[in-house]
């Protein structure tokens, strides 16, 4: 991506010693702006266009000068002035990650919007003006993390669930069995008792929620370890993303889906065999059609070992897989992996949700994929150009509904399972996605929020204040793997109960009966064409 920059990094105020502290443990006392005597620079080449976005309000009368906030802020925003004996902030560096707010022992910090933004304008939103000014300062592509944050309408929020009343009984999941087990992979053509026919490798999920691909490097060692522990505990799977599988995590081979992406980082026969399933990554919902980028400064010794690349080199994965230019080429790779793993594992293919997803999915299934992942435009990323994250791709709800419909019409729905990904926020989204035709869902942002993420969208900078998307040694311990695993397990257990409740109230006793059961869904506030695209009926009918 060459020349890249971000909305909030500002070379004028940087003090790398900040979080490391000095030998005595006392953060450096010098002001970051000492060269300017605390004054704002007005030189145009000096970021004079970067107005602060957030204001760190500290009630000084309740501040005990413990400097916890100073040490915890990784964004060069919080400083201590020993002469005045005050803690103060360089407001334009604040990204509203809320780490200081959470850690302050007297709760005396509050983050506010700095001001009203630019003059109200229905066309030129403040975020657009900020982006333009930043870009003119630096001449770079604006990078960001996480998923599309623009207020596009959400179909999940315009779909409601049915419930049983009088004419059909609801089921109480606390008193009666309720099955959430899901098998992912190709199913037999037909079933006759006594002669099962050809049986294909499937993976068993105790809950139809899997952890989405997140690579070691994009996320921290500890977070990936936490995902692995939680997946093992809950009988589901985590996914390596394109970053390879660290030797320490090969012991989780029964709980991991290993990815083969265009960069082929860390791929060898042992990698493919250290898995429950293998996945070919074609695209990612957050950045359909472009490759991955792990900046060289994030590639430390462990990441270099796992990805099999030299320390400090940029890990750039190409936009397409250069050996896949057609469905026939894809078939070759699918079968190469099946051969390498001796047909013992399902092979998944992951694509971003785009305009003709249904036809593409049909081709992928015919090419031999056992699982197809459709990743919608709300899906997150460790780093992507903001312009692409915010404007490319389509919602997973429509892509999923269309793909499921197409596979049914063609009589090949049983040949592959579908995983829906990209912006699943709660158990109701899971239920709606399954009723729209998914077998299971992937979650990533929800899992990050569960372990502390505050959606500050700075993942690409590798400074995550919560220790989730960083591998800097001083930030890494902020998320211990066992704490992460405990919180992720808690999240999945909560969803498990909620999904069981929702199935029960619809009069269903297994997740199987919900899959593609669009009669359980109704649309509110959707047009005729939207209802038709989703394959659901209008509420009230």
């Amino acid at each position: 991506m060459g020349n890249t920059t971000t909305l909030s990094d500002n070379p004028r105020v940087s003090n790398p010693a900040n979080t490391n502290g000095s030998k005595s443990g006392l953060p450096p006392a010098t002001s970051p702006k000492s060269d300017l005597m605390g004054l704002q620079s007005l030189r145009p080449d000096d970021h004079f266009h970067s107005y602060p976005e957030y204001f760190v309000e500290r009630r000084h009368e309740e501040c005990i000068r413990c400097l916890v906030c100073v040490r915890q802020c990784p964004y060069d925003c919080t400083y201590y002035d020993p002469d005045r004996d005050v803690v103060y902030n360089v407001h334009q560096n604040c990204v509203n990650c809320k780490r200081c707010v959470a850690m302050c022992p007297t709760h005396c910090i509050r983050i506010e919007r700095f001001d009203s933004g630019f003059r109200d304008n229905g066309h030129w939103g403040t975020h657009l003006v900020r982006g333009l000014r930043k870009q003119a300062d630096t001449g770079g592509v604006l990078l960001t993390g996480l998923g599309n944050d623009l207020p596009y309408p959400s179909y999940f929020d315009r779909i409601v669930l049915d419930a049983s009343q009088v004419t059909n009984p609801s089921i109480d999941p606390l008193r009666e069995p309720m099955e959430l087990r899901t098998y992912l992979g190709r199913k037999p053509e037909s079933y006759r008792p006594g002669s099962p026919g050809e049986v294909f490798p499937n993976i068993l999920c105790e809950i139809p929620v899997l952890f989405a691909p997140m690579s070691f490097g994009a996320i921290s060692y500890n977070f990936q370890h936490g995902l692995a522990l939680a997946a093992q505990e809950m009988g589901t799977y985590f996914n390596t993303g394109e970053g390879g599988l660290h030797p320490d995590f090969r012991k989780f081979r029964d709980s991991v889906i290993v990815q083969v992406a265009s960069g082929r980082f860390g791929v060898d026969p042992d990698y493919l065999l250290s898995s429950a399933a293998c996945e070919i990554k074609i695209g990612q919902g957050a950045k359909p059609g472009i490759g991955g980028h792990l900046p060289g400064e994030k590639v430390n010794a462990e990441i270099s070992r796992t990805r099999m690349i030299p320390v400090g080199t940029d890990a750039l994965s190409p936009a397409p897989q250069h050996d896949i230019y057609s469905i026939e080429d894809l078939r070759l790779l699918i079968y190469a992996i099946k051969e390498a793993t001796e047909y013992t594992r399902p092979v998944s293919v992951k694509i971003a949700a785009v305009h003709n997803t249904a036809a593409i999915v049909s081709g992928i299934v015919r090419a031999g994929a056992d699982i197809v992942v459709i990743d919608g435009f709300r899906g997150g990323t460790g780093a992507a150009p903001m312009i692409i994250r915010d404007h490319v791709g389509i919602p997973v709800e429509v892509a999923l509904a269309q793909a499921d419909q197409r596979l049914r019409e063609e009589g090949i729905r049983h040949q592959a399972s579908i995983i829906a990904a990209g912006g699943i926020r709660n158990s109701a989204d899971v239920v709606k996605a399954i009723a729209l035709g998914a077998d299971a869902v992937y979650i990533a942002t929800s899992a990050m929020i569960a372990v502390g993420c505050t959606l500050c969208q700075q993942c690409h900078r590798g400074l995550c204040a919560w220790g989730i998307t960083t591998n800097r040694p001083d930030l890494l311990p902020r998320l211990p793997a066992d704490q992460a695993a405990g919180r992720l397990t808690g999240l999945l257990r909560g969803w498990q109960h909620e999904i069981q409740e929702m199935l029960g109230l619809m009069g269903l006793n297994s997740i199987e009966s919900l899959r593609g059961n669009r009669l359980k869904l109704r649309g509110v506030g959707l047009t005729q064409l939207e209802l038709q695209t989703l394959g659901i009926r209008q509420a009230g009918l």
């Binding site: 005990i64 000068r65 413990c66 916890v68 850690m103 311990p477 704490q483």
Partner: protein, 177 residues
Amino acid sequence: MKRVYPVEERCINCHLCEVACIVSHSRTKTALGAYQVEKLSFNWVRPHALDPAVALAEGTPLPLNRCRVDVQGSVFISTSCRHCQEPDCVKACKNGSLYLDEVGRVLLREDHCVGCWMCLMACRYGAIERNPYVKNVPGQESNGINHHCDLCRDRSHPACVSICPTQALVYEERGSS
């Protein structure tokens, strides 16, 4: 006996253990009371306040945490008294101010200590600090009294262990030390 053990790889250098230590040994037992009314503070803040005459005269904060976070690059560790089974400090103390109590804690008789610093020199862990603001020998120029972790003797559970956000301090039985 249960002791406090640091887990180096979990420490995030937040220094909340020091905050909790100070508050739990304060009179008011609240953060604002300890820091603002009693003027307690950390031993890494304002080195000039270490001169007790100046500090007492000016009312500047008294740096009195008993655990302290040692920082070396990106390695952090919160250290405090090990409560040794055969404590060198107790052996070295010439007037019996330091003693092993019935459960095995090494404690101080605060009104006995004359600030001779034999304990400070004997402790192989460097776990003893000086509290220069208490004087048992009137008129004497220097000194103050011994200051070290008492495992929060007023509490059921050490405060540093309770507050640590990443469980980088554990309070457990590990046999002899």
